[in-house]
């Protein structure tokens, strides 16, 4: 596996609408090859992962979503903050009755809803637990992929623990948050951003990379999703943009293959070609902005239709070429 070989926690973020959930799932598929066991985690209660694998909504237990060739396995987990808190309390403090007491007192509601930032602490804490968990003499999972909150929120999400750690200063919460931040800032973690070759997602990616670096988090790669190859040659693109395509010769060519060459229709096609050329030109400048970041860029093709395991494998191939 030559996809960030030292990394065990892949955090996948990106602007909304760029397809970060699909990319996270494809990354899990790629990482599961060669007989590896991968955990795919979602934290926003959207249940976005299960449908990609044709699976029913995920409970708060690690559930196998797919097997891949060579004995690889992908597990999915939808982290629920309230259950994560109770689990956390029981694991670290052997609370038992006292945990139930906290719940009756409304403390759990407080932590998970009234002070919503603490939610992020619990979620990242659960992710850390799954990364370091052992099964015998090896890690329970070879890699963990986190379908994380969007770029605008990612640094705050990952840093929530740090924030609470500062508040707590000493004691178990402080110790726990230190451990989470140590993992997140280590070489075992990589934060990837998914983007499209469009203005707003690229701008957000450029800002996001700077923020992630400033927060001392290790950056992984920019994944450019849904890349479409131009359908026209360079010269034709230039002509199309300037409205100088030779409509008569296009008309004539269409007529030879039995397409009704009514001049109105050809004009419409030329207008579509102009918009296509505009978009291609925009993509070229957007790509330059991404190249200037000097981080690994990975391109994924635009695929049509609903995403399923087959599509995820295609994307995994593009993500980690053989």
């Amino acid at each position: 596996m030559n996809f960030f070989p030292d990394v065990r926690l892949h955090v996948v973020s990106g602007k909304g609408g760029t397809g970060k959930t699909t990319v996270a799932a494809a990354m899990a598929v790629a990482l599961s090859r060669e007989g590896r066991k991968v955990l795919l985690v979602e934290v926003e209660a959207r249940q976005g992962l299960a449908p990609l694998f044709g699976h029913a909504p995920l409970p708060y237990t690690e559930t196998r979503l797919a097997r891949t060739e060579g004995g690889g396995e992908i597990y999915g987990l939808a982290v629920d903050p309230e259950l994560a808190l109770i689990e956390y309390l029981e694991m670290f403090y052997k609370l038992g009755r006292a945990g139930r007491l906290l719940r009756r007192m409304g403390a759990i509601d407080f932590v998970t809803t009234v002070a919503p930032g603490l939610r992020d602490v619990l979620l990242t804490g659960k992710v850390k637990e799954s990364v370091i968990r052992r099964a015998g003499d090896r890690h329970a999972y070879d890699a963990v992929v986190l379908d994380a909150p969007p770029t605008g929120r990612i640094v705050r999400f990952l840093g929530a623990t740090d924030e609470v750690g500062h508040m707590a200063k000493v004691g178990p919460i402080a110790k726990q948050s230190e451990a989470v931040m140590t993992l997140l800032r280590s070489k075992q973690t990589a934060v990837h951003l998914v983007t499209l070759l469009e203005e707003m997602p690229v701008q957000e990616t450029v800002d996001g990379v700077a923020e992630i670096r400033a927060a001392g988090l290790p950056f992984g790669a920019v994944v450019i999703n849904k890349v479409r190859e131009p359908q026209l040659g360079k010269a034709d693109l230039t002509k199309a943009r300037k409205g100088r395509l030779d409509l008569d010769s296009i008309s004539a060519a269409l007529a030879t293959v039995g397409l009704d060459a009514d001049p109105g229709a050809v004009k419409v096609l030329a207008e579509e070609a102009r918009e296509h050329a505009e978009r291609v030109a925009l993509q070229v400048t957007e790509r330059l902005d991404l190249e200037a970041l000097q981080v690994p860029l990975i391109e994924l093709p635009q695929l049509t239709g609903e995403v399923d395991l087959g599509t995820l494998h295609q994307l995994a191939d593009a993500l980690v070429p053989e």
Binding site: L101, P116, G117, K169, E199, R279
Partner: protein, 378 residues
């Protein structure tokens, strides 16, 4: 295509309502839609303010917003017939601070503003944004200065969490947790431990074990200082809730024509209807339409293949393939939109056509507004 569906009349919304709340998942063009609706209202003669959360830089610049300063700024060259457009970016920390200052005496306000727990809660912890957006909405409404207030919401599911705020605050404030947190402060320092019953000392003991003593102290101080504000908070949350439920308010759910975004839109619709909130309808943004629908993707590809075989005009081959891509995309989008609207026959829908480049100036916003008003296109 033949499914009968109700058309969302957005001109009626921007002309008649007092508040428009745009919600939806990220990346669907929510901020752009909010700005376009506000601009349209201003050009139809209303005095409008649009509150945005985190606008794309160039969109913000197009409206003259250069900083997050929590003050509505007039947008130049926008508005007609006496209408004006003002825009502001929400500064959540400042909004929070303002509430504290307005509702606590100076000494207490100072105590709250410097409490480490408060500092984190107000400036960096997620979730506060939603509450502050609604708080700002309440303030703007109370000022009586605006014919129409358009609010953009954060791009998460939790954007609608503020709908629960009144019940949640009430449950929380009437609960024992808060009373316990406040107990020591009232009992005067540490002496309380002696007088409390076993249940409570177990409870505090557990909290101390989990949090360490300093966090607990900060939390206690925070709650103690905040106590006088809580009642006010609950009242304000209830007022905002009533305001949102008012028939003069309209919720507009923004989506994109793909299955994931429409699933999220369904979630928002269900959430709003569960609370009896006034849903105006759904805006489906960036819909691709082919202006040559008679030439299907299949026919176009077939023609391109034949032409290619005959080594015919390469430009024509490229144009046909380009058109086939677009026609296929348009057909796929139509399928998911139809599935969505058939499942919700009562929900009015409007569409915005995809544009070749991003919208980042007033003219672009105007085009989006016209697009919405004139939907469905002939």
């Amino acid at each position: 295509m033949s499914t009968p569906r109700r058309r969302l009349d957005l001109d009626a919304v921007v002309d008649g309502r007092r508040i428009v709340v745009c919600c939806g998942s990220g990346g669907v063009g929510k901020t752009t839609t909010a700005a376009a609706l506000a601009l349209r209202a201003a050009e139809r003669g209303r005095r409008v303010v649009v509150v945005t959360i985190d606008p794309a830089r160039r969109l913000a610049q197009s409206m003259g917003l250069t900083e997050l300063d929590n003050t509505p700024r007039r947008v130049a060259q926008a508005g007609a017939d006496g209408g004006e457009l003002h825009a502001m970016m929400l500064d959540m920390k400042r909004t929070f601070d303002e509430i504290v200052v307005a509702h606590a005496d100076p000494a207490r306000a100072e105590q709250i503003l410097t409490n480490p727990f408060y500092v984190s809660l107000s400036s960096s912890l997620a979730g506060t944004q939603e509450y502050m957006a609604m708080e700002k909405l309440g303030q703007l409404h109370a000022s009586g200065e605006w014919d129409l207030i358009v609010v953009d919401t954060p791009p998460t599911r939790s954007a609608l969490d503020f709908l629960d705020a009144p019940q949640r605050l009430t449950g929380f404030l009437d609960g024992r947790f808060i009373k316990l947190m406040l107990a020591p402060a009232k009992a005067g320092g540490r002496a309380y431990l002696k007088v409390m019953n076993v249940g409570i000392s177990t409870f505090t003991g557990v909290l101390t074990r989990i949090t360490g003593t300093s966090l607990l102290t900060d939390l206690r101080e925070f709650f103690a200082a905040f106590e006088s504000l809580f009642g006010g908070f609950r009242e304000r949350a209830q007022l905002t809730y009533d305001l949102l439920k008012d028939p003069n308010t309209a919720f507009v759910v923004v989506a994109a024509p793909d299955p994931a975004a429409l699933r999220e839109a369904s979630y928002f619709i269900e959430r709003l209807s569960a609370e009896d909130m006034p849903l105006a309808g759904v805006v489906i943004n960036r819909v691709h339409r082919s202006a040559a629908p008679q030439l299907s993707a299949e026919r176009s590809i077939a023609a391109a293949e034949v032409l290619e075989e005959r080594a015919g005009n390469a430009t024509a081959v490229g144009v046909l393939r380009m058109h086939a891509d677009r026609a296929a995309l348009s057909a796929r989008e139509r399928t998911v939109i139809t599935a969505f609207t058939s499942g919700r026959p009562g929900v009015p829908v409007a569409e915005i056509e995809a544009m070749a480049t991003d919208v980042h100036d007033l003219d672009g916003l105007r085009r989006v507004g016209e697009n919405l008003a004139t939907y469905p296109a002939a």
